[in-house]
């Protein structure tokens, strides 16, 4: 007798009509049929010969094709006599040393107050995203880099409005002096000031779009990422808000700057104190399994989620919004991706958010 052994790094997420097969070692995912999922389940408790015996001749051929596919993709291997029982399951526990991994700030200006820099250091935050509404000069950018020179911040991402001062020399100078900025987006830019080639230390984008804080929260295939750490986080926590702090333009400390609920203002309280408030972390443990519709979606373990803009249809017992993200056009029951913004059922929520 021969036996099929599925590698434990292959994670199968069952949706309403399809499955997503995620290879957590090779960092890719692919859509497959529920039928493949069923046959994998049968291989878990039966030998290959036994599984084939369940089927008539025609179906047997299909079963063989599925087995060939699993082997070709190296999703598993075949042993004789018994399963290789020394292969152990993958622990799905999410383990991370950071208190806060990500700070997302909406700012009127690029400069960061001193007390905030101190808090960022105390909390050993590693990633900082700044959505800047006001103009930022070269000096502002250099000051930002300097402020975090000896900090735990590893990466800085900045969105700022385009202004005519920004030309190739500006960017060149910044690139030579930047060590933490890894992504730079200038929005509201009619025309690229120069042709961007990959010669800078950071990714650079000029966009015509007039970005706003409420431009965030789009759910789309292109944002999905199969990465063992992100997937384990999504299985155990909220993939967008876990270990995240948001600060809006007025200085209100939130789970995300685009959300309504505030836990205090940076002029009156510190990030450290806000973290001690019990309900600040309520959303951190809300997984996709708790969210309406998403719980039946095959993409739920690779999805970016959004709690700031939702369809506003469901609130759970703890008062948390468990509605589907507003800016997701996918329907796991029909497997269709449609434009979310024109969906008639979403118009009320779109109006509520004044999008």
């Amino acid at each position: 007798m021969r036996y099929f052994n599925l590698y434990s790094s292959i994670l199968i997420t069952k949706g309403a009509n399809r499955i997503l097969v995620s290879d957590l070692q090779r960092n890719n995912s692919e859509l497959q049929s529920l039928e493949l999922c069923e046959i994998i389940d049968e291989f878990k408790t039966n030998s290959i010969e036994e599984v084939f015996a369940f089927y008539d001749d025609e179906s047997k051929e299909i079963a063989q094709e599925y087995l060939d596919f699993l082997l070709e993709k190296e999703y598993g291997f075949v042993t004789a006599g018994d399963w290789d029982r020394n292969f152990a399951p993958l622990s799905l526990e999410y383990v991370d040393y950071s208190e806060i991994s990500n700070l997302f700030m909406e700012r009127n200006e690029l400069a960061i107050p001193k007390n905030l820099i101190q808090s960022i250091d105390n909390l050993q935050i590693s990633h900082l995203v700044i959505f800047c509404k006001g103009k930022a000069s070269l000096e502002d950018f250099l000051k930002l880099e300097k402020d975090f020179e000896n900090s735990t911040i590893e990466s800085l991402e900045v969105f700022a409005p385009y202004q005519t001062e920004i030309d190739e020399a500006f960017i060149q100078h910044l690139s030579q002096n930047a060590s933490r900025i890894y992504n730079l987006v200038f929005y509201n830019c009619e025309k690229e000031p120069f042709k961007v080639e990959n010669t800078f230390k950071f990714e650079l984008l000029f966009t015509q779009q007039n970005l706003k804080i409420n431009s965030c929260g789009k759910v789309d295939l292109k944002y999905f990422d199969t990465n063992i750490k992100k997937v384990l986080e999504a299985i155990n926590h909220n993939s967008c808000l876990n270990k995240k702090i948001g600060i809006d333009a007025e200085g209100n400390i939130k789970n995300c700057p685009a959300m309504l609920q505030s836990f205090g203002n940076i002029n009156e309280t510190s990030l450290e104190d806000v973290l001690l408030q019990q309900n600040f972390t309520n959303y951190w443990n809300l997984t996709k399994d708790d969210i309406n519709v998403c719980k039946h979606c095959e993409f739920r373990n690779v999805c970016t989620d959004c709690r700031a803009f939702t369809e506003q249809t469901h609130i759970n017992k703890e008062g948390l919004d468990v509605s589907k993200p507003l800016k997701c056009g996918y329907d796991p029951y029909t497997n269709q991706w449609d434009e979310w913004s024109t969906n008639p059922l979403k118009q009320k929520a779109i109006q509520n958010y004044s999008l």
């Binding site: 993958l90 040393y97 063992i228």
Partner: protein, 302 residues
């Protein structure tokens, strides 16, 4: 206070330090280019370098990671007789410090951080592990072509700038032809037809194993470190059979090493063959693929 001896930018050390921060454990990180002066303050041993200082008795545990261990400053004296005598005095003070540190809770020791691969193979057989047949020779007279491999018995397998601008790495290779001339004593070993390889991380009696399946891939067939970037080898969590784990634990105890990585081959014959132990190897890559959090385990132990 935890004492950590490591090389300056060693990434594994950085990760463990982040865990120690999270656990609120205090530590001193000593760099490879740091030299200590031994002083006595209030009758107590005090060590001081340009960036660190501590009382010997305040150290609760020691992690010997990399970088050659604790190094000391010595004065030289003009009079050769005095110099000789002072050197001996230095030696005994340094010896005292190193031995006191080794008597505390520790991960590996300064004095046996490097293992003699040949002795390890002998000890492995004594504790009951199966080792593919091997011998040293200066010619290929007894080597069976295509049935035996040769590999380095040195600790360092990287040849820095061997060819002007390139570093070389000494991989394991199958012996494909006889050599006419004699050569430097070389290690030859039976080639085992393998099902897969196993890398086992050992820490103070606990073992975390990873199966490395490379057989489908010619590039990695004899040495999995020859990475295939496009389709990496399958690395998955694995449990060695309990009887092998008991032997491996015994081997680490006999060698007086309490942390390291051991390599095995699971042969097509179903047997587990022990290859070698590396006490200082990198392990966080496999740790994250298998979600073992070995950096956290180390921080917890210290």
């Amino acid at each position: 206070m935890i004492l950590i001896l490591s090389s300056n930018l060693e990434p594994t050390t950085n990760e463990v330090l982040m865990w120690l921060n999270k656990m609120n454990k205090s530590y001193i990180r000593v760099h490879e280019d740091e030299f200590f002066e031994i002083k006595i303050i209030n009758k107590k041993f005090f060590l001081e370098s340009y960036r660190n200082s501590f009382f010997l008795e305040d150290i609760s545990s020691v992690w010997y990671r990399r970088g050659g261990g604790l190094k000391f400053k010595r004065e030289t004296y003009k009079n050769p007789a005095v110099n000789l005598n002072m050197n001996e005095a230095y030696h005994w003070l340094e010896d005292y410090v190193i031995k006191k540190l080794e008597s505390k809770k520790h991960i590996n020791k300064q004095r046996n951080s490097k293992l003699n691969k040949l002795l390890v193979l002998e000890e492995a057989q004594k504790v009951g592990l199966l080792v593919p047949k091997y011998f040293l020779a200066e010619n290929t007279d007894d080597v069976i072509i295509n049935k035996m491999i040769t590999k380095s018995y040195t600790e360092n397998i990287i040849l820095e700038a061997v060819n002007e601008n390139y570093d070389g790495i000494l991989y394991t290779a199958v012996v494909a032809e006889h050599e006419k001339k004699p050569f430097f004593p070389t290690f030859f070993q039976d080639k085992i037809e393998k099902e897969y390889e196993i890398r086992s991380f050992y820490l103070d009696g606990k073992i975390w194993s990873t199966a490395i399946i490379s057989q489908n891939d010619k590039q990695t067939k004899t040495d999995y470190r020859k990475y295939n970037v496009q389709t990496p080898n399958r690395n998955v969590p694995y449990n060695l059979p309990p009887e092998i784990e008991i032997c491996l634990t015994k081997l680490f105890q006999v060698l007086d090493v309490n942390c390291g990585s051991a390599d095995f081959i699971k042969g097509k014959d179903g047997k587990f063959y022990f290859l070698e132990i590396n006490p200082l190897g990198q392990f966080l890559g496999l740790s994250s693929i298998c979600n073992y959090s070995l950096d956290k385990e180390i921080a917890q132990f210290l």
